[in-house]
Symmetry: C2
């Protein structure tokens, strides 16, 4: 299909045509061939006016916390209400292994065959920044195709949460009830970004879940991460991060979750924060990609490649000041 046919299929195709066009468009976006990239850029730019109308929901949590079950339950409820739900994933392990543990359609039995749901596994290679870029672009394709809820999931590992937080309107962290004891689960860069913390599998140990809720609530308050309320005008009502107990397997708490999401969306739309967040995300994204591009060109420069190993060794060994090393390498690149 030509980019024009893909565009037509995504925007106006019937169910089968649209689904095929989306898959082909995302494959095009994921291609590393530069001629594909040029076509992809053109396609994306053409689709852009039709994007941005979905709610973008980030979901992170360690393996075993029940993300798939939760997304399956939520997705089935939402499609029953007339929503169209896309599920994308960022799998940080894919950047190392090339394999994809997430986004496997078999994990979401019913949602994967639901005509109003679209599930796409994580792109399977490249740096995390590159994988995140593909996911972000896939999100735009889903939005152009009329999906009004886009869920981006990731495991609570490494920098992938930062990437998901940086492309979604609302960032939710799934947590097991034994949070207070499970230090690994509450990590730098996860909790502090959460708009909503969900204690899943709460039914397994209600007592622990309630204790975890209290602990996390107080921790969120103590850290006071989310924007300074003092910066808001008195008329402006800001969302404060919340904690919610759930048992996704039994379907308990999923409706309440969606109510909270809707309240978040309503508040943050009214006070302008949603628009602001997206603008900041877009600019941050542009600069992140510029930085990555500059660094890539730098590292591929023959003179830099020739000098780097020795210079790095000198810096580690304390023979060369870091700033001097940086200048030497920058000069090497600039001199050609």
């Amino acid at each position: 299909m030509t980019p024009e046919q893909l565009q037509e299929g995504i925007l106006h195709g019937n169910a089968a045509v649209q689904r095929r066009a989306m898959a082909k468009a995302i494959t095009l976006l994921e291609s590393t061939r530069s001629d594909h990239r040029t076509l992809a850029d053109g396609l994306l730019t053409a689709l852009l006016p039709y994007t941005g109308k979905a709610l973008r929901l980030g979901i992170s949590g360690v393996p075993g916390v029940g993300k798939s079950t939760f997304i399956e339950t939520l997705g089935m409820q939402l499609t029953a209400q007339g929503h169209r739900v896309a599920v994308l994933a960022i799998d940080p392990s894919s950047t190392v292994s090339g394999g994809s543990i997430l986004g496997d359609k078999t994990r979401m039995e019913h949602l994967s065959v639901n005509p109003n749901a679209y599930i796409r596994p994580s792109p399977s290679s490249g740096t995390l920044g590159g994988v995140a870029e593909k996911t972000r672009e896939a999100m735009l394709v889903c939005e152009a195709a009329g999906y009004d809820v886009v869920i981006v999931e990731t495991v609570g590992v490494g920098q992938s949460e930062i990437a998901v937080h940086g492309m979604t309107d609302m960032y939710c962290v799934l947590q097991l009830p034994n949070a207070g004891d499970d230090l690994q689960a509450i990590k730098k860069g996860v909790m502090e970004r959460a708009d909503l913390v969900v204690i899943n599998k709460a039914d397994i140990d209600p007592h622990a879940a309630t204790r975890a809720e209290a602990q996390i609530t107080s921790s969120l308050r103590l850290l006071g991460m989310h924007g300074n309320p003092d910066n808001a005008s008195h008329n402006e009502q800001l969302w404060q991060p919340k904690v919610l107990q759930m048992s996704a397997l039994k379907g308990e708490g999923v409706e309440r979750f969606w109510q909270m999401v809707q309240r978040f969306q309503m508040l943050q739309t009214r006070n302008g924060r949603l628009k602001q967040r997206r603008e900041q995300q877009s600019l941050a994204w542009m600069w992140e990609r510029i930085d990555a591009g500059l660094k890539q060109a730098f590292k591929q420069h023959p003179k830099v490649q020739a000098l780097l190993p020795d210079i790095q060794a000198d810096v580690v060994a304390g023979r060369l000041p870091a700033s001097t090393a940086a200048r030497q390498l920058l000069n090497a690149q600039m001199d050609g």
Copy 2:
């Protein structure tokens, strides 16, 4: 003085000569003239073998928390014990206003006239990254001159704590006793990096101080920020972040602070973390400077400058995908 004379003065000069050579060397490092920079790079490289033997202590805290009084008291105790103490500062406001609120010698009445102390205010202009670079280089000058304790202070604002954390062996956060109520004081990027949290002015409200100590202790534990103990071998004893009450004005707790610092240094030297941290800091520093240099060259490129305003506006308005915008700008630079 020539760089050779500066080097000689720093390494072997008598007290007066050394002090003058240090001041001149740091001024040379802070110069933006490229011929000065070349001389400075040569000087730094020559001094480097004589650096690295000091304990590098980062101190951050909001204005009013009592940093100067604390550093004055600590510095006087340490010099009395035979240490030589350098105090440097990173003043994030200087990067905006060009003025320096920190490092003013009048704030440390006794230490500033102590022959075994050297106080240098924050460099007064440039980006935060640039200011931090100068401070880091000044630290090396102090170490080459035989100062065995280098204190780098900053106010708890913006990204300056990250810079100080990134150049010191141990990062201490000063905190007022009303921490639990004072959300502004416990901020992202400060608490999570602390090796030691000091509740200063504890005597003013001992009850609040004790409550704050409990809260911060539990918060540090809950966040579990500091390295995963599971990664350490069983023989390897790791430092865990601690909380300490103090009244620097009355001198209470300052000795205990120093004991903790010494224990930190002993543990982290024995388990290899101190060496590892410094190596990582040096490499991170080199890449940070490279990134800054690449970005500066990018932003100064005439074609980029010509295109950037419109492209940025298109990205914010949602007319152009961020990744496409990045590629357009990168191509503009590469095409010359």
